[in-house]
């Protein structure tokens, strides 16, 4: 089903300037926050589900 997203993503072409102006803000805020949530959430649920089992 992944390819179903492609038509939407090509909308990037219409806003290339915004992406170019804020590329660092976009990359850091999006990727760093995702990484932190990934680590904290997986570790937290792993601990809690072990405790419950």
């Amino acid at each position: 089903m992944i390819f179903l997203f492609i038509p939407v993503s090509v909308g990037l072409m219409n806003h290339l300037q915004v992406i170019a102006d804020y590329w660092l803000t976009l990359l850091v805020s999006v990727f760093v926050s995702s990484l932190i949530v990934l680590v904290l959430m997986s570790w937290g649920i792993n601990k809690l589900s072990k405790g419950k089992a």
Partner: protein, 225 residues
């Protein structure tokens, strides 16, 4: 015509991805790397490309509904852990929005860009609606959602291995919350047992984010002011 090009490019990219079996050779990423330069070099406007692919976009809704099958298979386990699932999806969604907004504000994002980023961890149609309602740019929100999905699909399983995360519940819920449908697709490929929780998390986080995004944006602006 562009529908056929999209389909052919995706099928070739999927074949390359299967043969090389390396996370960075994601079929979606490969397709984008071919399609975007192709459209730009031929000066094809997005509207024309999208018009040719409209019915592919319509198929997104039944495709999301199809994720319910794996949920049905894990119903007893979901019933047993419903409190943990609901609370962790809520915490994950709120934390994701707060951290994204805080980093963006500290790095100089304006309110339009902030509104664009609030839904970056939920599936594309919801993220575009959130961006639109908050005054952001839906098309940029869509590309951020896809980038986050690819990022999650690439790094999540090596990270789970590093952190010794063995619970399918932990892996699945995290994938759905962080990397939405692309993460769920990665779960199906890597650990099929995780995919039911990932589908559930994808749906729950979508609902939680759409309800709380405007309040979280205001809260993030307040604590960073």
């Amino acid at each position: 015509m562009w529908f056929v090009v999209t389909l052919v490019v995706y099928l070739v990219a999927r074949r390359i991805s299967t043969k090389l079996n390396f996370p960075l050779f994601n079929p979606l990423l490969l397709s984008l790397l071919v399609l975007i330069p192709l459209l730009m070099s031929m000066e094809i406007p997005y509207q024309r490309y999208f018009a040719d692919n409209t019915w592919l976009n319509w198929l997104l809704q039944p495709a999301v509904v199809a994720l319910a099958y794996s949920l049905y298979q894990c119903l007893p386990e979901i019933r047993r852990h419903w409190k943990l699932i609901l609370s962790m999806c809520t915490v994950g969604s709120l934390l994701s929005m707060l951290l994204t907004a805080s980093f963006a504000i500290q790095l100089g994002a304006d309110s339009q860009l902030l509104a664009t980023l609030m839904g970056k961890s939920v599936t594309t149609p919801i993220a575009m609606q959130i961006a639109s309602h908050l005054g952001g740019i839906p098309a940029v929100a869509a590309i951020m959602v896809i980038m986050v999905g690819i990022f999650g699909a690439i790094i999540a399983y090596p990270m789970f291995k590093l952190l010794n995360i063995q619970s399918p519940l932990a892996r699945g819920l995290t994938m759905g919350c962080v990397a939405h449908a692309i993460g769920t697709a990665a779960s199906v490929k890597n650990e099929p047992e995780d995919s039911a929780y990932s589908s559930l998390s994808l749906a729950l986080c979508g609902i939680i984010t759409s309800i709380t995004a405007s309040s979280m944006m205001a809260f993030a602006l307040w604590i960073n002011s």
